[in-house]
């Protein structure tokens, strides 16, 4: 039973990470119907920005995290402007193909600039905390709390502010939003900025627990897609729920079934759901 709660805790940490990444993916898909395959690589880039903030620029951990968010938000805007906007009216596979080009570019860029070595972001919060017989590092608890705070902030932003409302309007009906005077192009850029920024925050949070490498985006992106499909493409509450479900399934699967097939679980979940329900689990009405 003790093992169970330990795995539950680990699952929550990973689930928080997945939730932040999947949220961004779901937000972009929900507002622009773009499945951004390069999203995982934005996450990777965010991890490197935070890493160099701490190790080379010698900034404190939290400003480094903020720096990563700001830089990646900028990258997100550039990506929307240069790559995805020109493809808005093209056949839908073209956006995926373009995203694949971006993904290749970013991964090779990271390889050239940063090398292929695995790195760990140094954190001031590496003390071990014991409570009720469970073991966790401070950083793990920070991940859980910070993810919660970020998700709450995003929720309030979308539901309680005017700019947030414009995003929802574009998600519901792009043409209709344009008709009532919303600058849909600006909303698209904003959504990409938020999405990439969230990915960067997730990366900076987790980078002191797991390893940073140019290929770290690859595993994450497919898990994020599995989650977004699980939660219904574009649904934000669905993405959050899906993230924790997947992370717990992986955590318990690794403990009770087999570690070498841990990564298969996400894909098995994905395939299973699409087999039973080709439009995703909680899909909004088609």
């Amino acid at each position: 039973m003790h093992l169970f709660f330990q795995e539950l805790l680990n699952g929550l940490v990973v689930g928080s990470l997945y939730a932040l990444v999947a949220l961004g993916l779901a937000l972009v898909y929900g507002t622009m119907q773009v499945p951004n395959f390069a999203h995982g690589h934005l996450y990777m880039l965010g991890a490197y920005v935070a890493f160099f903030g701490v190790t080379i620029a010698h900034i404190h951990y939290w400003p480094s995290l903020l720096l990563a968010v700001v830089v990646l938000a900028g990258v997100g805007v550039i990506l929307e402007r240069l790559v995805f906007r020109p493809l808005r009216d093209a056949p839908e596979v073209n956006a995926i193909i373009a995203a694949v080009g971006v993904l290749f570019f970013l991964q090779t860029l990271a390889q050239v600039l940063f090398g292929g070595d695995f790195r760990v972001l140094p954190t001031p919060y590496d003390h071990v905390v014991h409570f009720a017989g469970l073991i966790a590092t401070q950083q793990q608890l920070i991940v859980i709390v910070a993810a919660g705070v970020l998700m709450l902030a995003l929720f309030l932003f979308l539901k309680r502010t005017l700019i947030g409302a414009t995003i929802e309007a574009v998600a519901q009906n792009r043409a209709g939003a344009a008709l009532v005077g919303i600058d849909t192009d600006r909303v698209s850029m904003l959504v990409f900025a938020i999405s990439a920024g969230m990915a960067a925050a997730a990366a900076a949070l987790i980078a002191s627990i797991s390893l940073i490498s140019p290929s770290m985006g690859f595993t994450v992106i497919f898990k994020a897609f599995a989650i977004v499909v699980l939660g219904g493409m574009g649904s934000i509450p669905g993405a959050i729920l899906g993230a924790y479900i997947l992370a717990l399934a992986e955590s318990f699967g690794a403990t009770y079934i087999s570690t070498s097939y841990e990564d298969v679980i996400a894909f098995a979940v994905l395939v299973l759901i699409l087999t039973v329900k080709p439009t995703g689990l909680f899909a909004k009405g088609t």
């Binding site: 898909y29 119907q33 499945p35 240069l82 790559v83 020109p86 493809l87 093209a90 056949p91 839908e92 596979v93 073209n94 995926i96 193909i97 373009a98 694949v100 080009g101 971006v102 993904l103 290749f104 570019f105 970013l106 991964q107 090779t108 860029l109 390889q111 050239v112 690859f218 497919f222 897609f225 599995a226 499909v229 493409m233 070498s260 097939y261 990564d263 298969v264 996400a266 894909f267 098995a268 994905l270 395939v271 699409l274 087999t275 080709p278 439009t279 995703g280």
Partner: protein
């Protein structure tokens, strides 16, 4: 004009062993042809039918491992092993297709990507069968058919050329057949195609199986030509690379897969030493092409040909017929 170009290309391919001095270049050419066969498969499903299958390299892996395992573990000769491996690839394509083709658009891409990654993980982790990351070594070359022996580099090269010619002819025939036109109709507008009485589900499944057949064939040729095999050949990055070749060569065109593969494999060879950085150029190139030239090099060439004033030209090529005439 077009026919003449194909004949020239065939003559060059056949004469290549006498033109190059080192067998190294011959091996590069043969590997490029093998990749091109797989890219022709991708062209059937993406270029003709408009469905992005991101699990393509996994079927390449099934074909390759099928041949390699049957030859090394079960001591089958190459030819029945190749047939069985292609059959396995098509059967798996059938099973995956039945399920995945119920999804549309992005879901299909994500679904096939997940299937592809799963197959790749299984090939890596099922160590007793596949040898894990080390893979399988010493896969024997095909046995002789009568006086035809496939021992040397040149003989194996011609075998690959034959397989490539088969793939090109097959996809060209499909493109011209009623079935090919059906696929183009589905790519254009699936609902409209269904409304005109086309059995969309069946046509898509057949196209998908055809694409997995060509991927399996390419994999089988790869196993026997290279002689060793590891799970890296079935990964998602390989699918992405094949996608790159196809888009740059020309989606939905007949020359596109070959041109794209040859141009990019050639370019990679020129970049020796910095080869692993080639995606710094190829990545943005893919983005630019998909935005400005969705039909790739072949499409641009066709547009050029169509713009050239010619007295006996029958029709004016429009972007819609562009893919059709090549």
């Amino acid at each position: 004009m077009r026919r003449a170009l194909w004949i020239v290309a065939a003559l060059i391919a056949l004469a290549l062993p006498f033109l190059v001095s080192k067998s190294f270049y011959l091996q590069i050419a043969a590997s490029a042809y093998i990749t091109a066969i797989a890219v022709y498969g991708l062209n059937v499903i993406l270029g003709y039918t408009g469905l992005l299958s991101l699990g393509h390299a996994a079927f390449f892996g099934i074909g390759a491992y099928g041949v390699a395992l049957l030859e090394t573990r079960a001591s089958w000769p190459f030819w029945p092993a190749l047939v069985a491996a292609c059959a396995a690839s098509v059967l798996l394509g059938f099973l995956v297709g039945i399920v995945s083709l119920r999804t549309r658009g992005h879901y299909f891409a994500i679904f096939t990507a997940a299937v592809g990654v799963m197959i790749s993980i299984v090939l890596t982790n099922w160590q007793d069968l596949t040898g894990g990351n080390i893979g399988i070594v010493n896969i024997p070359p095909p046995p002789a058919i009568g006086p035809l022996s496939f021992e040397g580099d040149t003989a194996k090269y011609y075998l690959v050329v034959a397989a490539l010619a088969f793939a090109i002819a097959l996809t060209a025939l499909v493109r011209r057949s009623l079935f090919g036109r059906t696929l183009i109709a589905i790519a254009g507008n699936e609902d409209l195609a269904r409304a005109t009485g086309i059995d969309v589900a069946r046509a898509k499944l057949t196209a998908f199986m055809l694409s997995t057949f060509l991927a399996g064939l390419a994999g089988g040729m790869f196993a026997t030509y290279i002689g060793n095999l590891d799970p890296g050949s079935s990964g998602l990055d390989i699918t992405f690379e094949q996608l790159l070749y196809l888009v740059i060569g020309g989606l939905g065109t007949i020359a596109g897969p070959l041109i794209g593969t040859l141009v990019l494999v050639g370019a990679s060879q020129l970049l020796q030493g910095v080869e692993q950085y080639r995606f710094l150029i190829f990545g943005p190139l893919l983005v630019v092409l998909v935005i400005f030239f969705p039909h790739g090099i072949t499409g641009a060439f066709n547009r050029l040909m169509a713009a050239r004033p010619r007295s006996h030209r029958r029709t004016t090529a429009t972007p819609e017929t562009e893919a059709a005439v090549s």
